[in-house]
């Protein structure tokens, strides 16, 4: 592990100043992802600024029926909060589908969506990776792609040597639920406060796969707000994985159905970001939410999906799996007579 300085400043403003002043500085939340990366040499900061005790640990009511999740509230705490369980079951379920009890006790609301990809080549400093080492190439193309993207990627076989190539997925379960809920991210940066709609927090690789999110250096997440949902809204999270527990999603689905039949849909395990299925939502807008309609909408969403070939037949199976999982999830949310 490379030696680094550790700081626990007096307040969030100071924390932001500290990180902004040092180009190679990072914030530390629960540390369940960052500390692994320190050990593996994936993250090699000079300064680690611990914000866990500076940001709020509270879950508070917002006027109008929403909730504010303090950045340092833990995944276990949020999952167990009765208000979350009642109003946002999709979020409680997503949190409980992630990691293990021990990890969830440490992991924080801000840290979870900012965890980095599980791409095996990203985590192995001996293999080229554009995300970890810009310009070095992408080892995943044609390699172990089981946990890699099928949406938001340029081609079935992108150029592994091109500096913009990255076919990684974002691994968080929580983030998929937050994307479906249209959560709002409260950010404090060197230039002051701003709010980022959750579906816009993460980005596609574009021409810089090293950047996972739109946050600038020194920007701190202070809270994540959950907007109020109309009474009678139903929601669910369904995670499909390679074992019954303690595994990242192959594919996951966060679905929110409002009483007037509007579907909000986000997908996990399929793209560089939690994938809000806007195309499917558009197709369904104004339509009766039937199984056939959902099937057609998902097909439209997946029209541009690209399987990635690779070891053990690659990840083409995700495309039908997404369709089937969406259908199963939405079916469970429809009133009896429609399903």
């Amino acid at each position: 592990m490379k030696p680094f300085a550790y700081a626990r400043p007096g307040d969030v403003a100071e924390a932001v100043r500290d990180v902004a002043a040092e180009p190679n500085a990072v914030f530390l939340g629960g540390g369940t992802n960052l500390v692994d990366h320190l050990r593996l040499g994936v993250a090699r900061p000079d300064l680690v600024v611990d914000v866990r005790t500076l940001t709020s640990r509270e879950v508070t009511d917002l006027p109008g029926g929403g909730l504010r999740l303090g950045a340092a509230s833990t995944n276990s705490q949020v999952a167990a909060d009765p208000r979350v369980r009642e109003r946002y079951p999709v979020l409680a379920q997503a949190l409980l589908a992630g990691a293990t009890g021990q990890l969830r006790n440490m992991a924080t609301t801000a840290g979870n969506p900012l965890q980095r990809t599980r791409c095996v080549y990203f985590q192995d400093v001996t293999t080229p990776c554009n995300k970890r080492e810009p310009g070095s190439g992408c080892s995943a193309v044609g390699g172990y792609t089981r946990y890699h993207a099928v949406l938001g990627t340029p081609a079935a076989l992108p150029d592994p040597n091109a500096p913009e190539t990255c076919i990684a997925t974002h691994p968080s379960d929580m983030a998929v639920a937050l994307a479906a809920l249209d959560a709002q991210v409260q950010v404090l940066g060197p230039a002051g406060e701003r709010t980022v709609p959750f579906p816009e927090l993460h980005r596609l690789p574009g021409d810089d796969p090293s950047r996972d999110t739109v946050l600038e250096h020194g920007e701190l997440i202070t809270a994540i707000d959950l907007p109020a949902l109309p009474a009678g809204t139903r929601s669910a999270y369904r995670k499909v994985r390679d074992r019954a527990s303690y595994a990242f999603a192959l594919v996951s689905v966060a679905a929110v159905v409002t009483p007037d039949g509007e579907l909000r849909l986000a997908l996990g395990g399929v793209a560089h970001k939690p994938w809000r299925a806007t195309r499917a939502e558009e197709v369904l807008r104004g339509q009766q939410l039937t199984e056939d309609a959902v099937r057609a909408a998902v097909a439209a969403e997946l029209a541009a999906a690209q399987p990635q070939p690779g070891i053990d037949s690659g990840n083409g199976f995700k495309i039908p799996l997404v369709a089937r999982t969406v259908l199963a999830t939405v079916r469970g949310l429809l009133p009896e007579e429609q399903s």
């Binding site: 592990m1 001996t126 080892s139 044609g142 499909v240 799996l321 199963a328």
Partner: protein, 695 residues
């Protein structure tokens, strides 16, 4: 026939003697051995799969404060023996596989050692590597023999002719994946070289056998046995990967000798364990079965293709169980190897039988389906009266009883594939087998000390129960209460013991203990004096060569497959085994259900995803290499029949450490087939293989 012990302590459900220390966290494992002023070592490993190290820039590292030594192929001491390429660490510049040891850094802290080791710039002359196994490689070769000294190929009768004339034939290819043992405790050693006099090396090592470990180290370093002590009271799992020392042990000894007088600690990281600690070769198994319409086999054949490392051969004996499992006049087994630029494969729980009962037991299910015969019945119809391979009678063979009792307990006859809500439900069965072995050397001492009986033997407890059951055996052999017996193990200061491998530990060490105890009674009678002592060797124990000794079992599985997503669950796993006399039901059950769980893991989860482009396991940590977790295991039951075998040894025991893993994966595949109609012939069974068939 052996003189079977009268069981008094044997058969009792005694709690583990080491349990409390482990639960309290006071049991010391190799890396945490308390030593004065330890130094810490971290390996440097190759990042190419084939070629030569041409230069290593260590000057900056050596100059760093806190760095005690940096060893490389360019400056490491020359070893006495480099015959074994795995052990010849830092003896040459050639790289035989990615991840191979090419250096070690010794420093004041583990963090510093690791950072410095990772930072050493290495220049290579890289050559193209070849690491992809396939059955049609032109360079497959027949090894001189396969693991445990078995013949490479065997043939009896004429399989081709039987295939040509049979009423029903089946030809299928099956494959098992590459698996890594991954015991919870990593491969770790604390080593201290005391240079005074002739020099003395102490190794606190996590090993399945302190004596074999010492022998290998002595050979490599040219030391006398008296110059080396290996200590290992507790092992956090081995599953074969600590059966023989791996290169990390030699590296620790090298590092310790570079800093005389300083104890050096070295633990492989989980990632390094995917390169340096052995693994199970992937296997490709071409099966042929020929039968009449009543299911009587006229031919059974298995042609196995598997891999080894180009620098050291290990040939898994995958075809061996097919030689003796079922009655068939025509039989053929072959093994072919590809020598690749890959890490060195080695033992993993039930080498041979575990992968080797996959293809055959799925093929039997396929044959049963084709013939419309109950798969339990098909196996019963092919029960051989004597060992087909040797012609010897069985010491005891209760496969049929295991199948029948298992079927009864499982509710096999009432089974029917059906749909339960979103889940497709099916059941499957497979047979298990494991040879009953006893090693040629082991000695035990029994002494009367302060009013108690003390037995000493350098045996190993891998978490299996040796600490607990060896006193039970000794007590019965002495005819005393088990509470009056202490057994000391895990140290080369005690008499020589064989490796805990091949499910032979209890059979071997127990036999030596019985000889020693009987000798003790003969010499000193029922009323010994303090200090009276006797010893016994396993080779003095009665040995029966006229029977074929094996343990058998039957495993039953209920599988559920989600009709939407293809997710697979196994809510029920039931095994019935004939394993001779069970010495302690508690530790026995834990071995059997542990083996079955590992078999479930093999069926559904484990696969070391090999990346042939770079020559390494892509998913080389435990977040990505999945093993079965608690939530995957539903009801799991292990039962045993009351088996009396007078031929195996004085305890009547057959060994139980490995048989539990044998056959499980086939039973799972067969159950998933019953549920979905999909026959997954290439492990693991994952949802992507089932999806296309779900409507």
């Amino acid at each position: 026939m052996t003189d079977l012990l009268q069981p008094r302590a044997i058969g009792q459900d005694l709690v583990r003697r080491d349990g409390e220390a482990k639960v309290r966290g006071t049991a010391t494992y190799a890396y945490e051995t308390p030593v004065e002023h330890p130094a810490f070592a971290h390996p440097v490993t190759a990042t190419i799969a084939r070629g030569r190290v041409t230069a290593m820039d260590t000057a900056a590292a050596e100059a760093l404060d806190g760095v005690l030594a940096v060893l490389t192929p360019f400056n490491a001491e020359r070893l006495a023996s480099t015959e074994d390429a795995e052990y010849a660490v830092l003896q040459g510049q050639d790289v035989g596989f990615r991840g191979q040891l090419i250096g070690v850094v010794v420093a004041e802290t583990s963090e510093l050692a690791r950072e410095v080791a990772d930072g050493i710039a290495v220049r290579y002359d890289e050559q193209p590597h070849d690491s992809e196994l396939s059955a049609d490689r032109p360079d497959l070769y027949a090894p001189a023999q396969v693991n445990a000294g078995h013949e490479t190929d065997t043939a009896e009768g004429d399989v081709a002719a039987a295939m040509a004339s049979a009423e029903v034939t089946l030809e299928r290819t099956y494959s098992t994946a590459m698996y890594h043992n991954n015991p919870l405790e990593p491969h770790a050693t604390t080593g201290l070289w005391d240079p005074a006099g002739d020099g003395f090396l102490t190794l606190w090592d996590s090993t399945q056998g302190v004596h074999p470990d010492r022998a290998a180290v002595c050979q490599v370093f040219g030391l006398q046995q008296e110059q080396v002590r290996v200590v290992c009271p507790y092992v956090g799992g081995g599953f074969g990967s600590k059966g023989l020392p791996h290169a990390n042990v030699m590296l620790t000894a090298l590092a310790a000798r570079a800093v005389p007088g300083r104890p050096v600690k070295l633990a492989l990281t989980r990632q390094q364990m995917f390169f340096l600690a052995g693994y199970r070769t992937p296997t490709i198994q071409r099966m042929q079965l020929a039968a009449d319409s009543r299911g009587r086999l006229s031919a059974i054949a298995i042609d196995v293709v598997e891999q080894t490392s180009r620098i050291k051969e290990f040939a898994e004996q995958t075809g061996v169980p097919t030689r003796m499992m079922y009655a068939s006049p025509n039989r053929r087994t072959t093994h072919r190897l590809a020598a690749l630029d890959v890490p060195i494969p080695s033992w993993m729980r039930a080498p041979g039988e575990c992968p080797g009962m996959f293809g055959p037991e799925v093929a039997m299910d396929e044959l049963a389906e084709e013939l419309g015969i109950d798969p339990v019945e098909l196996r019963v119809r092919n029960e051989p009266e004597v060992d087909p391979e040797t012609g010897k009678p069985w010491s005891s063979r209760n496969l049929v009883r295991c199948l029948r009792e298992g079927a009864e307990r499982f509710g096999w006859s009432g089974r029917r594939a059906h749909r339960d809500g979103d889940w497709l439900v099916g059941t499957g069965v497979a047979s298990s087998v494991y040879p009953t072995m006893r090693q040629a050397t082991s000695t035990a001492n029994v002494r009367f000390e302060d009013g108690r009986y003390v037995a000493e033997i350098g045996a190993a407890d891998l978490g299996t129960g040796a600490w607990t059951i060896l006193p039970q055996i000794t007590a019965d052999a002495l005819g005393v209460d088990v509470a009056d017996v202490d057994v000391r193990i895990g140290d080369t200061r005690y008499p020589t013991a064989s490796v805990a491998g091949g499910s032979s530990g209890t059979n071997t060490w127990g036999s030596a203990l019985v000889v020693a105890a009987r000798e003790f009674r003969t010499k000193f009678g029922a009323d010994p004096r303090d200090g009276d002592e006797a010893s016994g060797d396993v080779d003095q124990a009665a040995q029966d060569d006229t029977h074929s000794p094996y343990a058998f079992g039957a495993q039953f599985v209920e599988a559920r497959v989600n009709a939407d997503t293809g997710e697979i669950r196994v809510p029920r796993l039931l095994g019935v085994f004939g394993v001779g006399r069970v010495i302690n039901p508690r530790t026995a059950r834990s071995q059997l259900i542990g083996g079955m769980t590992m078999g479930l893991s093999m069926a559904l989860h484990e696969t070391s995803a090999w990346d042939p482009r770079i020559g390494q396991v892509a998913n080389h940590d435990l977040a990505e290499y999945h093993i079965t977790v608690n939530a995957d295991v539903g009801e799991i039951e292990a039962h045993w029949i009351d088996e009396h075998d007078p031929y195996v040894n004085a305890m009547g025991s057959k060994g139980i450490g490995e048989i539990g893993i044998v056959g499980t994966a086939a039973a799972v595949v067969n159950a998933v087939h019953a549920a979905t109609g999909v026959r997954v012939r290439h492990l693991p069974v994952t949802l992507d293989k089932l999806l296309p068939a779900l409507d």
